[in-house]
């Protein structure tokens, strides 16, 4: 019990929560943006893997970290374009297309990585994003360590929450995206092109997913290895439902989730005699539990997963 309290009051736990939440925040916002426009994007797990690889590789080949992040975003947008082409223009099953993209993006990442990088006994590394030091603030006890010693992408993630929330709720563009997810016919009647809006939202959302993946190789770790995304994409899909498709709640969900993850990690080392696999199962079981809890009152976008064809009902 005393140990649990020690863990809960340590600044390192809460700093880890923010760190672990960062890729999830990007991922869940990306998935949310796609779904708000009416397109389910199950390509997320693969797109995160691709982002992780592309971002890392760009830096490995000599570019700076921000260029790497941009390259990752671009790779995500390209897969978003592919997903839109298949589901928005051709109206194919969003489930199957997304799964196909996950398999494609992940296997292509591994293939290109093996091809372009000489791998010895240890995977090659890059110099990742470092924790920022803000004079004064970073030195504050507890708060400084938790809030003001994070790496730049973590602050970018928090900023993205604000931007996505603002755009969706307060701008004409956001209204158009939300309306496309609810009733594309109405959007069409307004003289806007629902297909173009879906393309845009899916590409932007996929770019965010890829940046989430890139955080893993460019800030959390400094190398790329297969299976490194470890289901985070799927957890993001669950978190979107948990968040009822709202950016603010998405942030909350990602933080809550990251808290449990960081907590179990520390509990693992202090509790003996319990198989470590039980702790590792927790995040996945938790996601399922979260889905069940909120499923009944979930405000699903009305037109989610329905392809739109002009003049067809």
């Amino acid at each position: 019990m005393a140990e649990t309290i020690d863990i809960l009051t340590s600044a390192s736990l809460w700093a880890a929560v923010l760190r672990i939440a960062t890729p999830l925040i990007f991922g869940v916002l990306g998935a949310l943006l796609c779904e708000r426009s009416g397109v389910l994007n199950l390509g997320i797990e693969g797109i995160m893997t691709m982002g992780a690889m592309v971002g890392w590789l760009t830096v490995y080949l000599g570019a700076d970290l921000w260029t790497g992040l941009l390259a990752a975003a671009l790779s995500g947008a390209i897969f978003g374009l592919l997903h839109s082409g298949l589901t928005v223009s051709l109206g194919l099953s969003q489930h199957v297309s997304g799964l196909g993209i996950t398999l494609f993006a992940a296997s292509l990442s591994y293939y290109l990585y093996r091809l372009l990088v000489e791998v010895g006994d240890l995977p090659p590394t890059i110099e990742p994003f470092q924790a920022l030091y803000i004079p004064g603030l970073s030195d504050l006890p507890f708060v400084g360590e938790v809030l003001f010693q994070q790496s730049a992408p973590t602050y970018l993630a928090l900023l993205t929450v604000v931007v996505v929330a603002y755009v969706l709720a307060r701008t004409p563009l956001g209204l158009a995206i939300r309306m496309t997810g609810e009733n594309p016919h109405a959007v069409d009647a307004q003289g806007l092109d629902p297909l173009a809006i879906r393309y845009g939202a899916v590409m932007a959302g996929s770019a965010l997913m890829a940046v989430g993946g890139a955080f893993l190789t460019m800030a959390a770790f400094n190398s790329f290895f297969p299976e490194m995304v470890q289901g985070r994409g799927w957890i993001c899909i669950a978190l979107v439902v948990f968040a009822s498709w709202r950016p603010g709640k998405a942030l909350l969900g990602a933080l809550l989730f990251a808290f449990f993850d960081a907590f179990q990690l520390r509990l693992q080392t202090s509790v003996e005699g319990v198989p470590y696999q039980l702790f590792l199962m927790a995040p996945y079981l938790l996601s399922i539990a979260a889905l069940i809890l909120v499923a009944r009152r979930a405000q699903v976008p009305e037109a989610l997963m329905t392809p739109y064809r002009r003049g067809e009902r």
Binding site: Y110, L278, I288, R310
Partner: protein, 349 residues
Amino acid sequence: MRLERRTDTSLALIATAPLAAIALALALGSILIGVAGVNPLGAYVHLIEGSLGSRLAITETLTRATPLILTGLAAAVAFRCKLWNIGGEGQFYVGALMTAWLGHSIVTGLPAPLAIAIIIVAGMFVGALLLAGPAILRLRFGVDEVVTTLLLNFVVILFVGLMIEGPMRDPLAFGWPRSIPVDGDLRLPDLVQRSRLHVGLLIACAAALLVWLVLARTRFGLESRAVGHNAKAAAFAGVALPKTVLGTAFLSGGLAGLAGVVEVLGVTGHVTTTLSPGYGYSGIVVAMLAALHPIGVVAAAVFVAMIFVGADAMARATGVPSFIADVILSVSLLSMLVALLFTTYRIRR
């Protein structure tokens, strides 16, 4: 430009779809092989030789195809009913784990055929249960089964790890985490002497035939398809929605569980966390390439197995990373989606 529904779809058109999809995937694969600085044609020759070029190659390909037929059937059955079972991997592993548990302790001493029958039923049952959970969650609470079945894959593999490092650990495996092997009498006999190919292939083919009969000739098959086509209309026409979805879940999960049973009894004899190189996920590719047709699944599974076995041989001979197999298969899945669209729609200007 717009899409217009075809009034009739010829069988020839449906049969060409997978060929077109595969051709496109191989074309893209050849670009990626070219990027690796290897002559694509030469590489594909290695691939074909490695998967069909010798007795060993052929038996290896068919051995690899056996679980793929079953996981492919599992995906096809579920997808037909628009039950998105992405949990084939987990269902495979619970089937395998059940086999390892029963096969080294519970059913030893019984006559082998009876013991094997018990194992098959039990393995299929746990696979079915693992999918029934998400199916019930969808029916009862509207929880999307894609996410739940997928997350359960991670849970199950961790559980397998827990069991084979704990209660089911093989003390004779030199510290290597794997389960105690099943009783020797229970191993499925070889189909071809001096090869790994086992009777499981016949079981898988029989399953394909049986599933085809069930889907094409029974009331359940018709209702399952009707639900997949339009759940609301089917319910309106008097189909009991929960019963049909749950029945489909049982069939699908059972087939994936059977894949795990057959793999353990036929090939390894024990369970490790690397027993499946993604059979559950590849099953989805198999099902799509077969256009969700149970008999087509057999052919598609052999093709997918060819790519995997052949790519390993190609990687050894040319140094092209063997991940190319997954790239080719995932692209053929995507292009098959498009090809299938053009069997039901035509482009009008």
